[in-house]
Symmetry: C2
Amino acid sequence: MSTRGRQAEARRNDLRLLRAAHEVFTTQGFDAPVSAIAKAAGVGMGSLYRRYRTKEELFQRLCTIAMERGVEAAEAGLAEPDPWDGLCLYVRTCVGYRAGALAPVAGTITTTEEMWRTARRATELAERLVTRAREAGALRSDVTALDISLLMEQFSRPAPGGEHPHAKERLLTIALDGLRAPGATELPGEPPGMDWYEGRWGSAP
Amino acid sequence: MSTRGRQAEARRNDLRLLRAAHEVFTTQGFDAPVSAIAKAAGVGMGSLYRRYRTKEELFQRLCTIAMERGVEAAEAGLAEPDPWDGLCLYVRTCVGYRAGALAPVAGTITTTEEMWRTARRATELAERLVTRAREAGALRSDVTALDISLLMEQFSRPAPGGEHPHAKERLLTIALDGLRAPGATELPGEPPGMDWYEGRWGSAP
DNA sequence: ACTTATCGGAGCGTTCCGCTCCGTTCCCAT
DNA sequence: ATGGGAACGGAGCGGAACGCTCCGATAAGT
């Protein structure tokens, strides 16, 4: 794998494209123009459209990668000996690269088979992580794994008016403290179910 | 003030327009088409543009009203005898009508004199509310009024993929529990300052 | 030197949006 | 009863922006 030549440039371009697309889509939403991604990647439109035939295809690839990173984060969390620290690591990592910002937009495009598979693996690992923390008595008992997914999603959403360097971490710390057992206030209403959550992505295969 | 006649219809239309605009802008953002607001209000484009000469003017009026509602919510919170309950009431009320969803978008248009005035009153009252709760020992001591504003903003942001009826309230309850004294984890980084916050709206007059 | 894969970006067709303009409706004063 | 005028709804205009294509330029491989 050389670092020179046209093929090497193609590989570099692909990486830069994915990075730029992640940045642009998570901060500006799926409506962001494709040209903005190309420009952010320092790559021409032609190169982008040779690699990904449509905007949707690029986005699908991006979602899969984001979920794979979520899987890795969950595995890293489970590798942590302390259940609470593991859960915090997982949440902080996912929010750190705004993984949740892609999830809601995923409902506006068709969900590929690969996306379903990866999503299933990610949710299963997250469930294990949450159950372990709860059974260790570190996590309040009335919160579900889906609550935490939605929490991450909420915190992944960017502030349109520019970001303060530490504000997000401060808020996330507050929320994580609120997750610790025992909960001071009982959580209201029915917890959201898995069927509802998956319904946002279209019908399951 | 009659309920019949053309003038009465004009008044009703104005009210419906403001309600619809609030709903559409807070859920779809400032990019939502004006026609969507007119349709949601059950009003023709002509009537909308006679009342508000531009889209921006409508949005400015909307922001002012939202902040006035924020002032009222803060006053209601201060009227509550228990400092903690008062703070919770304030936060829940503001998040309830997604007041924070307008704040970041306000930076994309020019801020009127009236908006500055109302904003100043709102932040001053919020500061009082927060200080009272902290001095009563109910609120963790390392959190600032601005942190709470940003928290409300974060929770005001709509989920593009449809909303679960109770999910938001559950997450908000968790966050509020995290705000109670004593904080389990120290908040990281410098708290955001007022100058940064106001800078998002353009330069102060 | 010639072939050929890859590059960047101008341009095409289309969609969408803010706003205007105008024919219609209906209150109300005479 | 009737004419004037204020308020109504919505089709349509001009222009901006977007997804995607096409092509001349560039440089690696032989």
